[in-house]
Subunit: 324 residues, 2 copies
């Protein structure tokens, strides 16, 4: 990892370690919120300090009573310009919380508003450890290791060096199937996604940012534990589902939803995270790396849809084109 990232993360983690932290808040919008949610899930499972995720504007307007000088607020915006998230950083900082901004642009408004900055490299040829996932995982597992030291976290941190090759291998191994999915689903007007645990947020991100935003395909990210309590009644032979079968504690929820969906729909695509190639990753750390790999693999499913629908992922009709 590049020294600037190491230093930024060390400064942020030192601030966390020096505070008597009562709660963590993860605050962002859309895909950035989904990305942060992975960290929230890990914290919730691993340590007994509470954490919670908010979309930025809800955070500011609902004004959580627990927010104060014993809070750590982690914010993220890819460009660092998302106005709601910049506002949330300002709001949290005024309340005395430790604020940590994550962005690709260290000079962005978000990074200027927050006390600590953790920036990542984007599409500049850097190794994945210096990219958004490597840097974020490094921050999260350094925080975990500070709050509740565990040799497991040391191993996660050292095996982040494998991210680049793990990503590349898994992208290669799933590319054909992802484009086949794009071909099979190119005429679909609606595609549901499903997941649970840390993977629910991958489903949410795929639904909101890739299907709805970039492909104009209707969607809803259904939690596999919630599927049977309402949503499953829309299942039919011609209703498509893209379901993430996670690697980790909530996998049994996914298995149950897949079994049902496959019985009544002819269009169920399962992305089985346990079947990914984890060479270089310890067996007991797979549940941490799984969501990261799922993200890069799923991106290819969107590429496949873009290819076969002729609708490039870069096309927008509203975003960046007008005031809203």
């Amino acid at each position: 990892m590049k020294i600037e990232h190491v230093n930024q993360i060390a400064a942020a983690v030192k601030a966390v370690s020096e505070r008597n932290v009562k709660n963590f808040y993860f605050v962002a919008c859309g895909g950035s919120m989904a990305a942060l949610s992975t960290g929230d899930f890990f914290l919730d499972c691993e340590i007994d300090i509470p954490s919670r995720v908010y979309t930025s504007n809800e955070f500011v307007h609902s004004n959580p009573k627990g927010l104060g000088i014993e809070s750590v607020v982690i914010l993220r915006s890819h460009s660092g310009t998302t106005p709601e998230t910049v506002e949330a950083a300002k709001f949290a900082r005024e309340k005395g919380a430790v604020t940590i901004a994550i962005s690709m642009d260290v000079e962005s408004p978000l990074c200027k508003e927050a006390e600590y900055t953790v920036h990542y490299n984007y599409k500049d040829g850097s190794d994945a450890i210096d990219g958004e996932i490597g840097v974020y995982y490094s921050l999260i597992f350094n925080i975990l290791n500070t709050v509740s030291p565990n040799e497991k976290y040391d191993r996660v941190l050292s095996q982040l060096n494998q991210l680049e090759s793990v990503f590349e291998r898994n992208k290669k191994e799933t590319l054909e199937r992802a484009f086949q999915f794009g071909s099979e689903n190119k005429r679909e007007k609606i595609i549901y996604t499903m997941g649970s645990g840390a993977y629910y947020h991958q489903a949410y991100s795929f639904t909101s940012c890739l299907l709805m935003e970039m492909l104009w395909i209707h969607s809803n990210a259904i939690h596999t534990g919630e599927y049977f309590h309402g949503p499953f009644e829309i299942t039919d032979y011609d209703v498509p589902f893209l379901i993430i079968k996670g690697e980790g504690p909530t996998r049994p929820l996914d298995e149950r939803a897949i079994t049902f969906a496959q019985k009544f729909s002819d269009k169920v695509e399962v992305v089985d995270v346990a079947e990914f190639d984890y060479e270089g990753i310890d067996e007991d750390l797979k549940e941490y790396f799984g969501p990261a790999i799922a993200g890069v693999v799923l991106r290819q499913y969107a590429d496949g849809l873009a290819e076969h629908t002729g609708h490039p992922l870069s096309v927008r009709r509203y975003m960046w084109k007008m005031e809203y």
Copy 2:
């Protein structure tokens, strides 16, 4: 309120007051989870003890590290038979948490598994204060008043006596529009819902339980703060939205989403909670009563769709009809 409910709530609240509560967990599935989420929202805004909502199976499988003897776990199942929630009650009780079960059936498996039971009357002609909302609000505001006494909460508790007449008046005043909505949307295959704050959970419930489960209409409950970060790109002249314009701190988020949606879709239905009839409710308490009234008003929108699609809300193809 009937004395049995008063006594059940008093016993549960006494248990909360005698514990050094470190966190609240709200655990249920589907519509019951959405109903509990209103309490979670109020707690998050009003007191600095953290709270969090889980779908029951995720709660058990992800095994939150913060769960223990200083936790209060509030669970709900309408029938009290939802297996995942019964399991969650058992799991939480084994961890030493205070467990409070909410159900219409005091003899149900859920009520037997939890340490404390708060039951509500259902369709037996009782006043609304003894129904699901009256009893749940009474529990939540008694807990708030115990943790952080405030004369506001006393007033909420006394004005719960108005629920029945407030519900009846607002149902009457919105019935015609709700059925008009049903007529206008009877051929729609997809209807999006939107909301924020406590109302987001009303949108979620309407999407999962009414549109998807009971009417087999595709849907997704979009948070109005998230709309602009992906989902809004599916907006078009012929895409229907049912948007809750909440009464409370997050109303500005809803206003922004409504303004945008109305600009690009010809099919935007706004349910404005501020326009409800609050006679008998103090001005500063509207934000607490709003979500409750919204729930009963929205139910009529589903009745309107059922009437005009000829698809009764009681019809299921999978639920209760098979093992899953």
